[in-house]
Symmetry: C2
Subunit: 313 residues, 2 copies
């Protein structure tokens, strides 16, 4: 059986994995992202690290289908990459890695790639379509239909964080808009809503007096039955469920997979979201499962490898 390589390029680290074509992991590791000189050395670093590991594992280029890579930004049809985080604009990432490894490289946005990972070997395994919603600092998403990523005509497909769920919002989202899902159902949104609640009332709460009211603190307090935190958690899940219902009435996936840092809140988040989703969705898609992602931080390398197999085989 052949191998393929999955790379998850982040602003801090580059995660890499060697996979068998059946989806099992042979080896994984990470290296720091070298951001010096606008990340000009990144393609070389990735190539060197992959080649060195392949040699150590006794894997030749001939045994290797190619490299898939997820990037924190947009991949253009010519293979160049925009990534604000790394200061890249039309950066020749694919060509650079191809030249340095002699292997074929395919790339896509990291949210789409993570969705492909969960579809291939994670919570979406065995389903024909899924939507992954990642609840992190922001809200990202990836849509997979019949094995294909719905990237969209302008790479806006799956930009679920900027679906507007609150027409009355007066605070501005990072995108410039008002009332985006990301303003509520993210770590940032969760912390902001908690601070607003704390400010608005004098109600006792475990959150009062904490130096840092972050999303984790809110969910821990909600889990412990803190009423103020539970209200914030309810609001968070209400907006998340509104986002999912919108996805149900547009792309209607077989399953929703919830990932990202905030998803560590676990069952309480899923239970509340399911309950609210049930009252928002049309009857025929009301039972769509909403589950936690399974691959955690490895979704990117799995998805990148899956994409390489899908596109290069």
């Amino acid at each position: 059986m052949g191998f393929c390589l999955g790379v998850d390029l982040g602003g801090t680290n580059v995660k890499m994995g060697v996979f068998y074509e059946d989806g099992s992991l042979r080896d994984k590791w990470e290296i720091p992202t070298n951001r010096a000189n606008s990340g000009v050395g990144v393609p070389r670093d990735i190539a060197d690290s992959l080649l060195e590991r392949m040699e150590r594992l006794g894997i030749s280029a001939g045994d290797t289908l190619g490299i898939g890579i997820g990037v924190p930004g947009q991949v253009w049809p010519d293979g160049t990459v925009d990534a604000e985080n790394l200061g890249w604009e039309r950066f020749p990432l694919i060509a650079g890695i191809e030249a340095a490894t002699g292997l074929k490289v395919v790339a896509d946005n990291d949210a789409n790639v993570a969705a492909a990972g969960e579809y291939w070997q994670g919570a979406g395994r065995g389903y024909n379509s899924l939507v992954l919603v990642t609840l992190g600092t922001g809200v990202g998403g990836g849509i997979i239909i019949d094995g294909e990523c719905l990237a969209g005509a302008h790479m806006a497909g799956g930009e679920i964080g900027h679906v507007r769920v609150e027409p009355r919002e007066t605070l501005r989202c990072a995108c410039g808009g008002f009332g985006c899902l990301e303003q509520y159902a993210s770590a940032t949104g969760c912390a902001r809503m908690a601070k607003e609640e704390l400010h608005k009332t004098t109600e006792p709460s475990m959150l009062r007096g904490l130096r840092n009211v972050d999303a984790k603190a809110v969910w821990d307090a909600a889990q412990a039955g803190d009423r103020l935190a539970l209200r914030v958690a309810d609001r968070f899940c209400d907006y998340l469920a509104r986002g999912l219902a919108i996805l149900a009435h547009t792309v209607d996936p077989e399953i929703f997979v919830i990932g990202g840092g905030v998803s560590r809140a676990g069952e309480i988040l899923i239970d509340k979201t399911c309950e609210k989703y049930g009252s928002l969705a049309l009857s025929f898609c009301r039972d769509t499962p909403i589950v936690l992602a399974r691959l955690g931080n490895d979704a990117g390398i799995y998805g990148a490898a899956a994409m390489a197999i899908h596109k290069l085989k």
Copy 2:
């Protein structure tokens, strides 16, 4: 060149067309929908009418690829149809027409079929993806990506009318929910919002004293500069634009096509919607064209024929 047949089954009439495979129309006609005995005679009526017309045109079954049919309801994988309007539940429509004609039959929901028609020979011709939004009594929609209809895992794909755009709504939608796009951006919604405005103020308006304040009256008055009607039109287009921005941030089509009875309002509706959409969409999908549908009441027969060619060829 071969022929294919497109059928658009409605609650009142059945429209039918004979097409060349290149998409040009050879002949079209319609017959009344025989609703007696829960529409049990419909398959026979359609088959007889098609066969008679084929004979008159000198077209043999051997020259004919098959029949596509759009239905006002859901088509199940086994070929049976649910259509509330006709009292059908798991009605064997496909088998009935196949048996009576000896031709292959494929069927889909009428909104999806209309989208396929606009994609094939209408406003979406030459594009790779489109979303059709039909503004009628309700709001329907169809999503086409790379020539494939996004029907969804539970046939809720493209149920754009029930995307919730107003979390504060207290009036209930026909679906049982609150704040669905259909409650604002439909003929019914338009008339309701106008009546509310007339009730709320004593502001002079051309609409006062009309026996029937319907969507057409509202758009005619808006076109004539009536300030109250313009406010209603603005609100209508704001919600419609919110729906389109949601579609842009989920499926991100190359073009939006607006059809249905209310789209006869024409340029004023498109201009207002474009303006509002521009302030709601992410920068990279802000320029997605929003255009009027071109096939009018023929979208269904075109799309049904397109589907027959796509699936049977």
